[in-house]
C-alpha cells in the first residue's frame, strides 16, 4: 500500500466526486462538506460495471453518508462501501486524507 496524490484539495468540489486512475485501479474521491472529511471508494459500480460512482449524488440516509450510483441509483455507504439497497453487495474503500493542501489516497502498490 502506498499514499498517492489525487489532486489539490481546491480541485475537489464539496459533495461532488472526482475519479482518479492509478494503473488499472479507478478510485472515486469525495469531500463531504458538512463533515469536512475526504472519503474514497472504488469508482466501478458493481451493478452496471461502469466506472461512474464518482459522478453520483452525495447524501445521507439516516447516519450513513452515501453516494447514489448514477446508473441504477443504488446507494453506497461512503465509509464502509456497503450497498444500502442490497447489503450483499459492497465496493472497496480506500483510506484518504488531505496533507498540505493535497488530497491523497492509499492504494495497493
Amino acid at each position: 500500500m502506498s499514499w498517492r496524490e489525487v489532486c489539490a484539495s481546491t480541485h475537489l468540489t464539496p459533495n461532488r466526486g472526482v475519479a482518479a486512475l492509478f494503473g488499472e485501479q479507478q478510485i472515486a474521491v469525495f469531500r463531504v462538506a458538512e463533515l469536512d472529511e475526504v472519503l474514497a471508494i472504488d469508482n466501478v459500480d458493481p451493478f452496471s460495471g461502469a466506472a461512474v460512482l464518482s459522478r453520483g449524488i452525495v447524501g445521507s440516509a439516516g447516519e450513513s453518508i452515501t453516494v447514489a450510483s448514477p446508473v441504477y441509483k443504488q446507494r453506497f455507504d461512503l465509509r464502509t462501501g456497503t450497498c444500502l439497497d442490497n447489503p450483499d453487495v459492497c465496493v472497496a474503500t480506500f483510506p484518504a486524507r488531505v496533507i498540505d493542501g493535497r488530497v491523497e489516497v492509499e492504494v495497493p502498490a
Partner: protein
Amino acid sequence: MGARKTLVIAGHGMVGHKLVEELIERGAPAEWDIVVFCEERRMAYDRVHLSSFFEGAGADDLSLVDPELLDTPGLRVHTGDQAIRVDRDNKTVTSATGRTVRYDALVLATGSTPFVPPIPGNDSDGCFVYRTIDDLEAIADFAMLCRTGAVVGGGLLGLEAANALRSLGLRTHVVEFAPRLMPVQVDEGGGTALRARVEELGVQVHTDRQTTDITTGERGQVTGMQFAGGELLEVDMVVFSAGIRPRDDLARGCGLEIGERGGVIVDELCRTSDPSIFAIGECAVVHGRTWGLVAPGYQMARVVADQITGTGDSSFAGGDLSTKLKLLGIDVASFGSPDDGVPVVYADPVGHVYRKLAIDPDGPRLLGGVLVGDASGYDRLLQMVRGDLPTPADVATLAAPAREEVPASADELGESALICTCNSVTKGEICDAVRDGTSTKAGSTCGGCKPLVASITKVELRKLGAAVSDAICEHFDFTRQQLFDIVRVENILSFSELLARHGRGLGCEVCKPTVASMLASLTNRYILDGEDQTLQDTNDHFLANMQKDGTYSIVPRVPGGEITPGQLIAIGQVAEEFGLYTKITGGQRIDLFGARVEQLPLVWQRLVDAGMESGHAYGKALRTVKSCVGQTWCRYGVQDSTSMAVRLELRYRGLRSPHKLKMAVSGCVRECAEAQGKDVGVIATETGWNLYVCGNGGMRPRHATLLATDLDDEALIRAIDRFLMFYVRTADRLERTSVWFEKLEGGIDYLREVVFDDVLGVAAELDTAMKQHVATYECEWKATLDSPERLAKFRSFVNTDDPDPTVVFVQERGQIRPARADEKALLP
C-alpha cells in the same frame, strides 16, 4: 423420505383457518396432507366484525380465505360437512356426510356455541342466537316482520347484537343479568358511562334483570319477556347473546379429558390427554380457563403449527385480553390488570366518559385500565403496560382524555414491541417486511393497531429513502409542491439554505435533483455553478445522457424537426471524427452515442460553431416539438404547423419541469405529428388551433384531453404558457402531465378555469414567470464552452488525461457499440 402424513382439523372458524395459514407458511404441505372439516357452508370468515354485515358488508367481504391458498397441494377443505366422531384407537375422524379420514395428528378447533339460558320459551319462533352469518341472515329475515327486539346479554357480544338490531331498524332493548353492562370488562363507573352512552342512541338498557319466561302468542311466536319480580317487556323477537360455551362434544365422544365448566383440557403446548390430538381456540381450556378472544386463539394456532412442522417451540403462556372496541359506535377499551394497584379515575358525567388507570405507585408503573366513551391514548397506554414504553412520572394525568390523539410514535418503541396482538407481530417484523418488500398480517384482524402500523411503516420507508405519500424523502417533510411554494415564497436561492431552514441530514439523490429543478424553474440560472452542480441528477451532471457503459449520448436541438443540410453535414462530420454511433430519435432529432466525458466539450464546440444548441435530452425539461410540414408543403395541411412548432420549441426550450415535456403540432386532423400522445398537442383547424394536453406515449399511454378549440396564435401561446407553469408549480416529483392530470381534482373543467378564467388568481403570476423564462434562456452548452472554469469539470480523471480503460467498443453494422462482458473478457 417417510410417507406423507395426514393432519385433520375439525373446525374452520377464524382460529382453524389461522392454523391452516400458519402451517402453509411453515411449509407443512411438503410432508402433510391437511384435511379440514368446515361445518358451515362458508369457509372461515371474520366474526369480530360480524355486525358490519348489517352495514352493507357482504359475506365475501368478511371472508378470511385467500382463494389462492385453496390451490395449495395436499389441502382439502370440506365445507358443509361437520366432523362428528373420533375413533382414537384407529385414529380416524368421521364426518356428518360419512367421510372417514385417518389422521396422524388431529386438531380440534370447534370453537364455541352461544349460551342460551334455560328459560321456558327460549326456542319459540322469534328466538335467535348471534354467531354465524346464517344466524344473521335469519335475524334479518325475521326482523322485517318486527318493530321491537331484545338482546339477552349486555356483554361485548350482546352490544354487538344490539347494534345489529338497531341497524335493522328495530326499537332495541338490552337485558343484562348483572348490575351493569359489560360486567367482565368494565367496572361500575365504566358501566354507568357506557349505559348512558348506549341509551343516548335510543337503546333501552335493563340491568339486574333475570328473565324467567319468554311469552308467546297464539302461533307460538315471541310476544315478550317476563322478568323475575313480575315486570313484562313486550318485544317481537329475542336474540340470545349471553356468553359462549366451548364446543367439546367431539372430545367428550372420544373420552378426552374435559374441564369442569366444559372445554377440552390441554397443556401449554395445546396437547390434549391424547398425544396425537390438539385443541385450540375457544374449545380449549388452557391454564384452567377458556380464552374467548381471537388473539389468544391465534397464538394457540401458532403453537400447534410450530409443533406439527417442528419449526419452533412456542408455547401458550396465557393470552393478552386487552381489547379496544367500538360497540354501537362507542369506544370501549380494557387492558392489562385494571383491578390491581391504585385506581386513578377520570369521569365526565355530562359527556359520559369514564377512564380508569390502575397504577402501581412504587414505579410508578401502569398496570392496566378501562376506557369508556373515549379511548384516546390506548396505544400508548397499552405499550406502557407491556413495558415497551416507559411509564412517565405524571402517569395519573393520562387518565384524562388526550386532547389530540397521539399514537405511540414509531421511534419510541423498541424492535421487540408487540404491535399487533391478534397476529402477534412485533415492530421489528413490520420493519423487516417493509425492507424486504413483503407483508405481515398486522392490523388485519381487529384493526386496532392500524394507525401505529402505518406510522412504523412510514418511518421505516423514510429510513429507506423511499418517497412516502406526503414527503419526498427522509430529509424533508414536504411534498414537491409544498417545497416549491416554500422556495418561491421565502425566496430561497440554494439547496443548503432550504435544508437548513426546513430539512435535516445532508439531502439525497431524491431531494437534491428535485430542488435543483425548482431552482432552475424559478431562476433559469446555469445549473452547474457552485452548489447547484452537486444537486444534478445523472444526465444533468454532464449535460448529456449517460449510457450503460458510462459514456454519453449527445442530442442537438432540432426545433420542430427542421434541419438544414449544412447542419446535417456538420453533425455527420462530428460523428465521424469522434467515432460516435448515430441514430434518428422518435422526436425528429439525431442522437450521437459513445462520447466520453472529456469529449463532450470538444463535440459541442463543433456543434455550436455549426449553429446548433443543447437539445436538453438530458434534462427534465422540454424535449422536442414534433411537427409535420403542414400547409407549406402538404396538400391537406390547413395551417403552418412547422412554423408553430419551431416557435413553441424556441419559447419553451430549457424550461425545467417535474418531468420531461414533449409537444407536437399537426397541420391538419390527419394528425401526422401524433400530437394527442404528447404533454402538449396542437392540431390545426381551418380557423386556428385546437389545444390538447396531458397525453403520453411510453409506459402508460394516454390520449390527450382537449383543453380549448380554435385558438389564434397568441391565445394558443398564452394558454400553453399558463398550463405549463401551473404544472411546473403543482406536480409531484417525476410526475408526467398525464398522471398529474388524473390526480387533478375537477379535471379538465377545473384546468380550463385556471387557464382561461383565472379562478386561482395566479394567471398574471404564471404569465410573468414564463416571460422571465423566455427572456433569460441561454444554451447551457454555449454557456459551458464560454467558461474555462466550467469546462474544467469535464474530465474522466482528475489525475491524468488518459481515457477510461473500462470503456471498450466493438463494430456492428458499420458503427460502434459497447462491448459486452464476454467480448471484453477476450481482449488482451
